[in-house]
């Protein structure tokens, strides 16, 4: 604590009296151009001095190529990787973890003593909450520090596209694995592979009730959202009949938390599939003939689902729907039609290659030329602010960030409805949203928000004042600020307040 206080005092002393807190003289990086700043701001979770220097050294084309083909190394700083490696969700295989939690739930339920039962249930709930929070923390650490920024952004994008809500059933124990095994590995790969992984993950099958979907007891929830939200889009011309047929294709596709497989009649045994918690149970499947989007389904058993997914993934409606969403996420809510068409064509010709489709977007003149158009959503607002403030100095605790994101209404794995959060700028421009955002800006700018204070019994704290008035600011950010913003910054009475005003400025709300 004394060290921290001393550091703050020194900083305040150094900065006292000047509106702009730091001198630009010391920088490890070559001067940053405003073009490179704008490009990095648009390509990554938010510009940092290091990322701008990297793009300038590599050039845009090589930088984009590197981002779109990140390879298999996580590439995280050792300190951050160690934080992730210490997590339960990183250490325990999913099946073990889920089965153990299920046992804990049952043990708590089985208690005959009321107090013991309550205590057991509380402990179970607390552990489930902790597991989900680990997953969210891991997501933010990667967003902040992964060199593979586009991959991390696309992981968020697809998590939102294939949205699940952690409050349902035991999803809190599943969301980390869902993100890690179904989403991230395919985030820049082929859309069909991503779709296949999502559709067979227990998190999604539980969330949209498909584990309940069986022959004679059809539940159409997943079938409908699979076409409406995940592939074709709502106005793509499919009918209620198609929903019912796809629901029948999906009968028997479910989740099995037990060690044992079900006993099956001999003629069905060949159809049975089990992969971890995923199960296709032919005894629950409707084997009658089906037709989807005007064509018969020819396979039998789980192959029907593969055939149906092929058909959905290849539909031109899916290419349009996905490309429009990508455009809205990355660049603008009002897509330039020629560029959108070029992306759709690439998506179709490359059989849904996500990296190739994004390359068309990133290398387009519109992408480099465009004015700041997109209002940052809460996650991007928080991540970009912390990236800019601390560059490559890893935070010790992302807990405060999770709280800010929750307060602004965009918690990870927390969207109550399966449509995911809106990608439209207008969705985050309400008066209530903005006044909350300024509160968050002030908390980040203060430098005492707890990002460098670990949790637990032996909590450590490190001095870390947010360095927003850095070389990048003086070399390029300052040139992007409107006179009203510069005027406001001059009125700052302290470095903390200067930070708060900069993060509250219109320029920092957009990318």
């Amino acid at each position: 604590m004394p060290v921290l206080r001393l550091a703050s005092v020194l900083l305040v002393a150094a900065l006292a009296g000047c509106a702009a807190p730091l001198d630009s003289g010391v920088s490890a990086y070559p001067p940053a151009s405003t073009d490179a700043y704008a490009q990095v701001n648009r390509i990554t979770w938010g510009a940092t001095p290091a990322a701008v220097a990297r793009l300038q050294a590599m050039g845009l084309r090589a930088y984009v190529a590197d981002q779109l083909h990140p390879g298999h190394e996580a590439g995280l700083p050792a300190e951050v990787q160690a934080q992730i490696d210490a997590m339960t969700i990183a250490q325990r295989p999913l099946v073990d973890l889920v089965q153990e939690m299920e046992q804990r739930r049952k043990d708590a339920e089985a208690n005959t003593d009321d107090e013991a039962k309550k205590a057991g249930q509380r402990a179970y709930q607390a552990e489930m909450n902790r597991l989900a929070r680990e997953a969210a923390a891991r997501h933010l650490l990667r967003a902040l520090y992964s060199p593979h920024q586009v991959q991390q952004e696309m992981a968020w994008f697809w998590l939102n596209h294939f949205s699940v809500h952690q409050a349902k059933s035991n999803l809190r124990a599943l969301v980390g694995d869902y993100e890690e095994t179904a989403i991230r590995p395919h985030a820049l790969g082929k859309f069909r592979d991503l779709l296949g992984a999502v559709v067979q993950h227990p998190a999604m099958l539980r969330y949209l009730d498909n584990e309940q979907n069986a022959a004679g007891r059809v539940n159409e929830n997943f079938a409908r959202e699979l076409m409406e939200l995940h592939t074709l889009g709502v106005d793509a011309g499919y009918s209620q009949h198609d929903v019912q047929e796809l629901a029948r294709v999906l009968t028997g596709v479910g989740v099995n938390l037990r060690h044992n497989n079900p006993g099956l009649r001999k003629e069905l045994q060949g159809f049975y599939v089990r992969r971890g918690l995923f199960e296709f149970n032919p005894a629950r499947h409707d084997f009658a003939a089906k037709e989807l989007l005007g064509q018969p389904i020819r396979s039998r058993g789980l192959g029907e689902l593969e055939e149906a997914l092929d058909r959905l993934a290849r539909s031109p409606a899916t290419a349009r729907f996905i490309c429009r969403k990508l455009m809205s996420f990355w660049l603008t809510d009002e897509p330039p039609l020629a560029l959108l068409q070029a992306m759709v064509q690439t998506f179709e010709r490359s059989e849904g290659d996500i990296a190739k489709t994004l390359e068309v977007l990133f290398m387009s003149p519109e992408f480099s030329r465009a004015e700041q158009q997109k209002l940052k959503d809460p996650v991007r607002f928080v991540v970009s602010a912390v990236r800019l403030a601390y560059d490559e100095k890893p935070v010790l605790n992302v807990g405060p960030m999770l709280n800010w994101i929750n307060r602004m209404g965009e918690p990870l794995y927390g969207r109550a409805t399966p449509d995911g959060y809106s990608l439209q700028s207008a969705a985050w421009a309400s008066p209530g949203q903005l006044s909350t955002r300024f509160e968050v800006a002030k908390a980040i700018g203060s430098g005492s928000a707890g990002l460098f204070r670990t949790e637990g019994p032996q909590a450590q704290e490190r001095a870390a004042f947010p360095q927003l008035a850095n070389a990048l600011y003086y070399q390029s950010i300052i040139k992007t600020l409107a006179p009203a913003t510069l005027n406001a910054l001059e009125q700052a009475a302290s470095p903390q307040e200067w930070n708060a005003f900069l993060l509250s400025s219109p320029e920092m709300m957009r990318r």
């Binding site: 979907n213 209620q240 209404g409 409805t417 300024f438 708060a500 509250s504």
Partner: protein, 396 residues
């Protein structure tokens, strides 16, 4: 309309809040108030307003039907020979029905057939005709705010919902959880100065002024909370806060309540759905109580995007359906009635042999209600619900 735009421009120039300006300058404020409560997820209307005379209902829902009225407390409360009320509302809202302050409109909803939550919610919030040109980003409550002189709209939600998006600048404030702001008055002024004359200028200054107003209104509650006094929870707490703001400052309100998409194990007299209805009922009763004398001039409409399948599904739940039941509650509402066009509930009258039909289209029903409440002209109604023919169901 022109007056409204002039006011907006003025508000922008002086960085005063739009609502404050309107209150200062507009003609005498309309005394009556309207709150729309939107149940997102398509609540199971057949569990709320139980068709107790329909043996087909009991045959279709062996595990989730609500029993016919009897002395048993888990049975429906009698509303008419044909209808009963879910027992979770026996103590909270049934008295309002008997006291003629609550009515229900069965077979209501939209003719939109996508059965998609999101498309149907959007289409309802837009409140425009299903066919022909649509103006996206213009919701019916926003248009209502433009045709009413002295309207003071407020969305009690974290983000501005589609229903309130459009030409009139409408503020929003979520009331589920409140925290004391740390950005002080001087800092707020400096931040607002950065946005002056930018596209977000009005939202920013509105956000600050709403924040200040909420803190003033909730001072007593926060004081009580800091003394660890017992306060209400969940929707009841939210509804009381809404009432405090609507009593004094806002006459057009919107709030949404989620958690109605009951595909699995929805329960019957007890269980998941019963708990949701209980919380909603307690909240609406608390709202009425907190409004005090202003309740006399207040109307609450509870609506949802669609009803659910008439038959239970394979998981003792229900899937996305069609016709729903709207609730109309208020100090001047002609309650104790089941209003609107109706049919016997049996297999032959089901829509697509699966759902309750829509006989009372929501734009016509709401249009008729607004016409009574605000004495709107037909052309004003047409602004709010373009092309709709308002139907007066005698609810006000």
């Amino acid at each position: 309309m022109q007056r409204r735009q002039a006011l907006s421009a003025l508000a922008g120039l002086t960085a005063l809040s739009l609502t404050t300006t309107t209150r200062l300058l507009a003609a005498p404020a309309a005394k009556s108030r309207l709150l729309i409560v939107f149940l997102r997820g398509g609540y199971d209307a057949c569990s709320l307003l139980v068709p107790v005379a329909s043996s087909y209902y009991y045959a279709s829902r062996p595990d989730i039907a609500i029993a016919r009225p009897s002395s048993d407390l888990s049975s429906a409360s009698p509303l008419s020979v044909d209808w009963g009320l879910h027992p979770a509302l026996r103590d909270s809202l049934y008295p309002y029905f008997k006291n003629r302050e609550l009515a229900f409109v069965p077979f209501s909803g939209t003719h939109d057939l996508s059965r998609s939550h999101f498309e149907t919610q959007d289409s309802m919030e837009l409140g425009q005709a299903l066919e022909g040109h649509k103006s996206y980003g213009s919701g019916f409550m926003n248009r209502l705010a433009t045709v009413l002189t002295g309207s003071t709209p407020m969305a009690f939600t974290d983000q501005l919902p589609l229903v309130f998006q459009g030409g009139a600048k409408v503020p929003n404030t979520g009331l589920r959880s409140l925290a004391k702001p740390s950005v002080d008055a001087r800092q707020s002024g400096i931040i607002a100065s950065m946005y002056q004359g930018t596209p977000m200028g009005a939202q920013v200054s509105e956000g600050f002024s709403v924040r200040d107003e909420v803190m003033r209104e909730m001072a007593a509650e926060m004081d009580a909370a800091s003394r660890k006094a017992i306060t209400a929870k969940g929707f009841e707490l939210e509804a009381r806060r809404i009432a405090r703001l609507m009593k004094d400052s806002y006459n057009l309100g919107f709030v949404d309540v989620g958690g109605w998409d009951t595909h699995v194990n929805q329960g019957a007299a007890n269980g998941y759905l019963a708990n949701r209805l209980d919380e909603l009922g307690l909240g609406l009763a608390a709202f009425a109580q907190e409004m005090g004398a202003a309740w006399r001039d207040t109307t609450v409409v509870v609506m949802s995007e669609f009803g659910r399948t008439f038959r239970q599904n394979g998981n003792r739940g229900t899937d996305h359906g069609h016709g729903s039941v709207f609730w109309v509650m208020g100090g001047s509402v002609k309650g104790n009635q089941i209003a609107g066009e109706q049919v016997r509930v049996e297999q032959a009258t089901l829509f697509q042999n699966r759902d309750l039909p829509v006989l009372n289209e929501y734009r016509a029903v709401l249009g008729g209600l607004l016409q009574r409440q605000y004495a709107l002209s037909l052309s004003q109604i047409d602004t709010v619900f373009p092309g709709a023919k308002p139907r007066d169901l005698g609810l006000l």
